[in-house]
Symmetry: C2
Subunit: 181 residues, 2 copies
């Protein structure tokens, strides 16, 4: 939907990194006036809800430099150029948890921060898990612990903010909404 469209007059590219790009757009507003928008371009990301045969959800705990602390999340990673989200999902699952999945089901997608970034997050359900004898190595700058929680435990973590990450909170409540676990 293009309602109240803001037409781009000029784009100034500020930064192009390994993960994100930053640009500032001069835009024309619906009333003809002008404004500026600071925009982050992101390749998009995939998150996986891995469910074990014992009906537990596998989470990962890792240090997040932007927050200067470790937090609990579902396994996730950014899309690599030209890669399908399913391939990313399986790769991140294997690297971060040591499991692979015989069944991968697309659940939903959402924008994480539409006020300043275009990141679209795809959520997959991973079931029929199998422990890998030789899981692929993590990226060399990744350090991760895993933990397994029942849905009820995970809901408690959400309620008391021990889990407080958009994709993870939403994934836990989405499982409940759709009665997937």
């Amino acid at each position: 939907m293009k309602k109240y469209e803001e037409k781009t007059i000029k784009t100034e590219k500020i930064f192009e990194g390994k993960v994100i790009k930053l640009q500032v757009d001069d835009v024309q507003l619906p009333n003809g006036k002008k404004s500026k928008r600071e925009l982050i371009k992101h390749p998009g990301a995939v998150a996986v809800i891995p469910i074990t045969d014992e009906k537990k959800i596998i989470f990962v705990e890792q240090y997040r430099k932007p927050l200067e602390k470790s937090i609990i999340e579902i396994p996730a990673g950014k899309l690599e150029c030209g890669e399908s989200p399913e391939i990313t999902a399986i790769r991140e699952l294997e690297e971060e948890t040591g499991y692979t999945a015989k069944t991968l089901t697309k659940l939903t997608s959402f924008y994480t921060s539409p006020g300043f970034a275009d990141e679209l997050m795809h959520i997959y359900l991973a079931t029929d898990l199998q422990k890998l004898d030789q899981p692929p190595a993590l990226d060399e700058d990744e350090f991760i612990d895993i933990l397994e929680l029942t849905l009820d435990e995970a809901k408690q973590y959400v309620k008391n903010e021990r889990i407080h990450d958009a994709k993870t909170n939403y994934a836990v409540l989405y499982l409940e909404l759709q009665e997937l676990l």
Copy 2:
């Protein structure tokens, strides 16, 4: 929690805008190796779930330049320097919906994109709403429509991805989780 902490060796400030700042940090990893992190600094934001006396949730629809389209969200805005989240919540509610709230209840907080940004989103419930005779003007670069949905309607919007914004999806499911509506 500081597990697997990444110590900052050097910070390169790339951009300082009206909404976001961008920096690249050289970090020392837990194994002693070095890496780079691209980080967005954001002042944090507030989102409000306004509930009318008829038990409907008020949403806003607005154009989001990063996505190049209009999407449906709960009212929200970034924290202004030195401003308490409660003041931001009431201001955004009044500007975006034309209502004020006699009762404002903090529900929860979460990070929107911890992989690259420090944005922390605070969610408030606004009840005992009163229509303002003379609502404050929107920011001059904001253009917004409002719509009211029951919780069941909102859950349908979430299921079929007509609502696909992290804070909004989470807010709708959180209302259900906590039986707030």
